[in-house]
C-alpha cells in the first residue's frame, strides 16, 4: 500500500538542510536527503517460540510522520525495532520478511548493520543520555561511536540542539553532565544525539511516555520540524499525539495470537472514518 500525499511530495523535493550539508559525510553530497523512504514487507517477529508479530507490511514514504498505535503488547515496539535491526539484540529473537530502505533490504546477508543504524536512528522510551559524557559530548557521541569525521563540530552541536529545541536551555552549560538535565530535557538531548549523525529515518519508541505535557509539546513541535528533512516513525499510546503529529497512522492489535497490523490510512481518516470496527473501537476509547 502506498499513499499519495501531495503536500508531502513537495517536502520530499525540498533542498537538503544546512544540517545535511554539515554532516554530509554520512551520505554522498548531491543525493536526495530524504531517499525514497522505508518499506516493511511481510515482517514477522518471534521471541523464542513466542510469535509476537505477524505479517506486517507498511510503507513509510519519505518525509512523512507515521504513528503506530495500539494497546500494550500488540507488537508496535517489536515492529519498530525490526526497522533498524535492534530486534536482534534480544536473546532468542527471530524475524521474517523484508525491510527495504531506498529499495534495499536491510536484512540482506552481508549488510553492514552499523551503517544501517546510522541511516535509521532511534529515540527510546526512556531518556538514556550517556552518563559519563557532558551534554556536548552526548550530542556528538554518534560521530565518535561511528568514527565519522566532522570538521565543524561546534556548528553541528548548535544546530542539533537548536533542532531538538534544547539549545536555549543548555547553551551556557554544554560541559555539564547529561544527567543534570530534567527528564524532558534529557529526551530532547537524546533526539539531538540521534540527529547529529543525520539519519534518513528516525524511529521514536514512545518518546514522550515519561514526560510532562510541556516537554511533550516541545518534542511534538520538534517532530513536525524534523519531518521536513527526514522520515519519522513514532510509537505512541497517546492518540491525541498521533492525531497531532502524524500524516499516517497504523493500528496494531494482538487478539490472542501474534500482533497484527489491522489498518493503516492517513491519520485524519483513521480517526474519522476507520474501515475496521476494531480500529473504531480503539480510537473512540471503547477498549484498550
Amino acid at each position: 500500500m502506498t499513499f499519495e500525499n501531495p503536500d508531502k511530495k513537495e517536502k520530499a523535493m525540498a533542498t537538503p538542510s544546512s544540517l545535511a550539508s554539515v554532516a554530509a559525510n554520512t551520505r554522498k553530497p548531491g543525493t536526495n536527503t530524504l531517499g525514497i523512504g522505508l518499506e516493511a514487507r511481510g515482517v514477522h517477529a518471534w521471541f523464542g517460540k513466542h510469535h509476537a508479530l505477524s505479517n506486517v507490511s507498511l510503507d513509510f514514504p519519505a518525509g512523512t510522520v507515521t504513528a503506530l498505535i495500539g494497546p500494550s503488547g500488540c507488537g508496535k515496539s517489536t515492529f519498530i525495532r525490526t526497522l533498524n535491526r535492534m530486534h536482534e539484540f534480544i536473546p532468542g529473537a527471530a524475524m521474517a520478511g523484508e525491510v527495504l530502505l531506498d529499495g534495499k533490504d536491510i536484512y540482506e546477508p552481508g549488510t553492514d548493520v552499523t551503517k544501517i543504524r546510522l541511516k535509521i536512528g532511534m529515540v527510546f522510551q526512556k531518556p538514556n543520555p550517556f552518563p559519563s559524557m557532558t551534554i556536548g559530548e552526548n550530542v556528538l557521541s554518534g560521530l565518535k561511536l561511528a568514527q565519522l569525521k566532522n570538521s565543524n563540530k561546534d556548528e553541528l552541536l548548535e544546530e542539533c540542539l537548536v533542532r531538538a529545541g534544547l539549545w536555549n536551555e543548555v547553551k551556557d552549560r554544554l560541559n555539564a553532565h547529561g544527567g543534570s538535565l530534567s527528564g524532558g530535557q534529557q529526551q530532547r538531548l537524546c533526539i539531538a544525539r540521534a540527529l547529529a549523525v543525520n539519519p534518513q529515518v528516525l524511529l521514536m519508541d514512545e518518546p514522550c511516555s515519561a514526560l510532562d505535557p510541556g516537554s511533550t509539546l516541545r518534542i511534538e513541535e520538534t517532530i513536525k520540524e524534523l519531518s521536513e528533512t527526514m522520515t519519522i516513525v513514532i510509537v505512541t499510546h497517546n492518540m491525541q499525539q498521533a492525531a497531532r503529529v502524524s500524516d499516517f497512522t497504523a493500528f496494531f492489535l494482538a487478539d490472542g495470537g501474534p500482533g497484527e497490523m489491522i489498518e493503516t490510512a492517513p491519520t485524519s481518516q483513521i480517526f474519522s472514518q476507520p474501515r475496521d470496527q476494531r480500529t473504531e473501537n480503539y480510537v473512540t476509547g471503547r477498549f484498550g
Binding site: N84, T114, F124, K126, F130, S141, R193
Partner: protein, 349 residues
C-alpha cells in the same frame, strides 16, 4: 522588615522528643545495671557476659517499651532495631580492636630508618633502630604490580565476555571463575611450585610469586567487574548501537566509562585480596632480607613474609619488628582504599 517576617523556625518533628530521649537513656542505663547485677549474682563471668547481658536486656526493655507505648508490632520493631545494633557492634568491635592493637604495638617498632633500610645487615636480636623493611615494601609493591598488570586485563576482559558478548561459553566460564575464587591460596602456591618452579625456572623469584597471586586475583576482579557491568542499564548499550557504533566502540566509549568507578573498586578489591596473601609467598619467593629490584631473579622480600619471619624468629626485637610490619601493611592497604575512592569519585572532564 525581613527579620520580622521570619516567625517560623525550622524544626525536625520526626526526631525523638526530650522525653523519648530520656526514656532511651534510662533503658540503656537499666541494661548496664542489669548486666552488672546479673554478672555479680549469677554464674556468668567475663567481659563477654557483660556484653551479652547488656544487649539482651536492652532488646527486651525496648520490646516492653514498644508494646506498652504503642502495640505489639511496634515492640517487635524496637526489638529488632536492637538486634541490628548488636550485629553492627559485632562487626565494628573486632575490627576496631584489631586496628587498635596493631597501631598500639606497631608504633613501638617505628623508627627513622624503618622505611629506608633493609634487614641485610641486621640480626634478629639487634636493637629495633637497626634495619628496616624497605626490602619488604619494595617486594610487596613489585609482586602486586606484576600480578595487577597481568590480572586486570584478563579479569576485566573476562567480565566483558560474560556481560557483553554472552557467548556459548558464558556459563562454564562463570562457573570456573566462581570456583576459582574459592581456591585456597596455598593451592595456588603449590600449583605454581609444581608447574613452573620445579619444571621451568628451578628457582625462587618474585615473578613466580606474582603468578600465584594472579591466580587469586583474576576471579576477584572478574566477579566484581561482572557485577558492576551488569548494573549498567541495557538502554545505554542499545543507544550506543542505535547511533551506529559497533559493539566494541559502544563498550569502549559508553559501557566501560559508565562503569569506571565500579571497575576501580574491582581493581582495589583484587589488590586487597592479594596484598596480605602469605601462603604462596612463603612457597615461592624465597623472602630475602636485602632489597631486590629484579622480579625475575633471586629471593624477594614482602611484607607478609617479613611479618611471618619476624614472629618466627621469636626474639623480643623481632616480634616488635613484626608488629611494625603489620602496621605498615595496614596503612598501605588503607591508603590504597582511600586513593581508589578518590580516583573513582573524581569526575573527568
Amino acid at each position: 522588615m525581613s527579620e520580622s517576617k521570619v516567625s517560623v523556625k525550622p524544626s525536625r518533628p520526626w526526631r525523638p522528643s526530650p522525653k523519648e530521649r530520656a526514656i532511651n537513656f534510662a533503658l540503656i542505663l537499666g541494661s548496664v545495671l542489669a548486666s552488672y547485677l546479673l554478672v555479680a549474682v549469677t554464674e556468668l563471668k567475663g567481659k563477654l557476659a557483660y556484653f551479652a547481658v547488656f544487649f539482651v536486656a536492652l532488646a527486651v526493655l525496648n520490646l516492653v517499651r514498644g508494646v506498652l507505648t504503642r502495640d505489639w508490632m511496634n515492640g517487635r520493631d524496637q526489638f529488632f532495631s536492637i538486634v541490628m545494633l548488636l550485629g553492627m557492634t559485632m562487626v565494628i568491635l573486632p575490627t576496631a580492636s584489631i586496628l587498635y592493637t596493631v597501631f598500639d604495638r606497631g608504633r613501638k617498632g617505628l623508627h627513622a630508618g624503618l622505611l629506608t633500610n633493609d634487614m641485610s645487615l641486621a640480626t634478629p636480636s639487634d636493637p629495633i633502630t637497626s634495619g628496616g623493611l624497605l626490602h619488604a615494601i619494595i617486594g610487596t609493591f613489585l609482586l602486586v604490580s606484576v600480578a595487577l598488570v597481568v590480572s586486570l586485563p584478563i579479569g576485566v576482559l573476562t567480565a566483558l565476555y560474560l556481560t557483553e558478548i554472552k557467548g556459548r561459553l558464558t556459563r562454564p566460564i562463570r562457573f570456573l571463575v566462581q570456583a576459582m575464587s574459592g581456591v585456597p591460596s596455598i593451592v595456588a602456591g603449590l600449583f605454581i611450585l609444581s608447574a613452573v618452579v620445579y619444571t621451568v625456572t628451578k628457582s625462587y623469584s618474585g615473578l613466580v610469586g606474582s603468578l600465584a597471586l594472579t591466580i587469586l586475583m583474576i576471579p576477584t576482579i572478574a566477579r566484581t567487574a561482572e557485577e558492576v557491568l551488569n548494573l549498567i542499564p541495557n538502554d545505554l548499550r542499545e543507544a550506543g548501537v542505535a547511533l551506529g557504533g559497533t559493539q566494541w566502540r559502544t563498550v569502549a566509549m559508553v559501557v566501560v566509562p559508565a562503569a569506571k568507578s565500579g571497575l576501580i573498586t574491582a581493581l582495589i578489591l583484587g589488590v586487597a585480596r592479594i596484598v596480605g596473601e602469605t601462603a604462596p609467598i612463603l612457597l615461592l619467593t624465597g623472602g630475602g632480607d636485602a632489597v631486590n629490584l629484579n622480579p625475575t631473579q633471586g629471593a624477594m622480600g614482602s611484607l607478609p613474609f617479613y611479618i611471618w619471619k619476624s614472629f618466627l624468629l621469636g626474639t623480643e626485637e623481632s616480634i616488635t619488628r613484626g608488629w611494625a610490619g603489620l602496621l605498615v601493611l595496614l596503612v598501605l592497604v588503607l591508603s590504597l582504599f582511600l586513593l581508589a575512592r578518590f580516583l573513582g569519585s573524581r569526575r573527568t572532564k
